[in-house]
Subunit: 441 residues, 2 copies
Amino acid sequence: MAGETPQGDNMTGATTHRVVIVGAGFAGLAAARTLGNTGIDVTVIDRRNHNLFQPLLYQVATAALSPADISEPIRRTLGRFRNIKVMLAEVTGIDPSAKTVQLDHGASVPYDQLVIATGSEYNYFGHEDWRAWAPGLKTIHEARLIRQRLLLAFEKAELSQDSEEKKALLTSVIIGGGPTGVEMAGAIAELGRFMITRDFRKLEPDHMRVILIEAGPKILSAFPDNLVQYALRELEKTGVEVLTNLPVEAMTKDEVVAGSRRFRAGCIIWGAGVKASPAGRWLGIEGKAGGRIPVEPDLSVTGFPDIFAIGDTALGLAEDGKPLPALAQVAKQQGEYLGRALKEKLLDGKPVGPFHFQNRGNTAVIGRNAAIFDFGKWTLKGWFAWLLWAIVHVYLLVNFEKRLLVSIQWIWRYLTRQRGARLIDENAAAFVPSSTQRTET
Amino acid sequence: MAGETPQGDNMTGATTHRVVIVGAGFAGLAAARTLGNTGIDVTVIDRRNHNLFQPLLYQVATAALSPADISEPIRRTLGRFRNIKVMLAEVTGIDPSAKTVQLDHGASVPYDQLVIATGSEYNYFGHEDWRAWAPGLKTIHEARLIRQRLLLAFEKAELSQDSEEKKALLTSVIIGGGPTGVEMAGAIAELGRFMITRDFRKLEPDHMRVILIEAGPKILSAFPDNLVQYALRELEKTGVEVLTNLPVEAMTKDEVVAGSRRFRAGCIIWGAGVKASPAGRWLGIEGKAGGRIPVEPDLSVTGFPDIFAIGDTALGLAEDGKPLPALAQVAKQQGEYLGRALKEKLLDGKPVGPFHFQNRGNTAVIGRNAAIFDFGKWTLKGWFAWLLWAIVHVYLLVNFEKRLLVSIQWIWRYLTRQRGARLIDENAAAFVPSSTQRTET
């Protein structure tokens, strides 16, 4: 019986190496998989039971996909590797001298090598109170909260007799002009126009506004200018107003103040920059850019040869000395590299070369038939980029079932413009966004 | 532009009849659809934005389907009928003399004919405090809550060092031996066994218990004895313990006391009888069996010729004088009948004959390859009944997209035994079951 197989039956070395991985996002999961079915005793700790495919989370927030389409239980992903143990728990600290990880329910887990892959969270730049009014897009909970507010604002607008209130409810403000902000703005504009035309009786398409606010001089600042210009044109076509050089100064439940302008809104969304998870504090070290933990070329934390940091929480450097961007592909490559490196070092005693990031291309989708790709040497935009974006993202999903389900929903949506997941959850009042969301204990 | 069509443009009669339907479940939606694209001005009011296909809700609770697979925005279903208006609001009262319906946000809606289709809720027989520990299965919120508790109990059991606690966490108690209780018990047993064998390291299949408790002398009391015997055998094969003549006496967060026996449990589920929604109180009339509103043969509420009650909330009588069961097929047929009757009466001035219920067969599914059908004159059980059950339920889904999505997930599950929606929601602590859940105002 599978359940009766004792731990570490398939150990090959004389000593059992214990690798503990904290966080099962792109980075942690890639590291764990690479260490799968080896003689190394691997423990993966996450405070959630599922891995989330964040690049498609904006589609959950805009009612196009269901949460389960883009998430997978960590146990299911790692279940086939008999040397990997999964724990649903929150890490509260690290003791580098005792070589243990502390968990919230009091237990501690010993390690020989520790991998920190705890990701990042949205940065409200000191305005933590804004989090309640403008959720970011990092968890299923937040995506569902945004979906809820968006749909509820339209329902309230339909019932409203006051035309000013109606317009305010039909206004969505997205703060931050990075890929997530652009994707959300495009998707909200499409969803809103469709719903007004098809399903509502007392709303006019002209009453709807989608406003994308960026503090800096341009949106999609990581992309070359020709792609940014294209994105701006496409956003305008979809009906999105893009406002740059407009830092947000104040916010209430239904109003955003930026550059002395006031925007009443039915739904406010935050996408204005991320900061690393507070894992650096566990080690008593100060993070650098955005709280990220500085790492050596082998991804070990500077000063802690047995502790590694990968993904958004790590501050790795590219060959040119610039920090690597906080992207899924960096996280995945670092996880795979580290898994391989640990295997070679621990099992074969081989020395390990430094990590090299291979840029696979940076992408953002603006809306129906419109996406951009930046491959460094060349770029791609338009319908073909959009198709490539869709194919790549379906391919990156975790298994055949999810690929099939997402493909069908996308094809259905492409043909009918219908979005299948327009649900307002019943217990809306109980929805409280919080930076420290976790499972019941 | 669609959004600019004024209300009632397509009216044919000289006078506009205003029909207000409260509740968009099986009954209300069937009535509304039948009145679609006529000269009657129809308003549908519901406190939720979606219609839920409740017969498959237990599959959401056991991680087999996503909420969006079995729910559809009411606006989307009714969007193509230009004479139907949808309002997301909670009804707080009815004024039969002024002929208006009061809404929670203060507005009132006038009607000429009123249809009450507000359904039913679980009956805790005076123990409202049990609702928090043993959620029923009526809303998406409750299904997600049950899924959450079930999965979390297994996660906690994996971490527990105490073997008594481990066993308690792996015990599920289902109260009520009707179809919902049986379906839940079978599905939990299958899910649990699969997860323990495949994904957990420190749990034994023998530690898992699924206990189905029924206060009466037999489970599935609406079914003939040969089917009940079959169901009992199948439940036993799946590992479900069925205990009859055992009324629940007390309950805490993690313990059920019934017939002087104590059952510690990781998850408690309620399915022990329903009562009608409190719509009877709005009319100042006492409901009869389970709070249901007595109706005449034309489904008008006794004493209120312009108010009709259909579905679970109505107490209709069969030809033999017995009350009609609270089933989806009764609700649907009553809704269709009433829609037709109102159309003929209001538009053509025709008199309307009484409602006749046509029994299409009563069914319950016990597990993989096992279901029962009771068609009155003949019965069906086993693999073929299970296949028929699956085909019928896919067919009853609202559109082609949902049919395809559910079929794919079922085929996938049949082949792999994997369940795609094993998600523990992030904000578990905020999940509070409540009988008066509603959307944010």
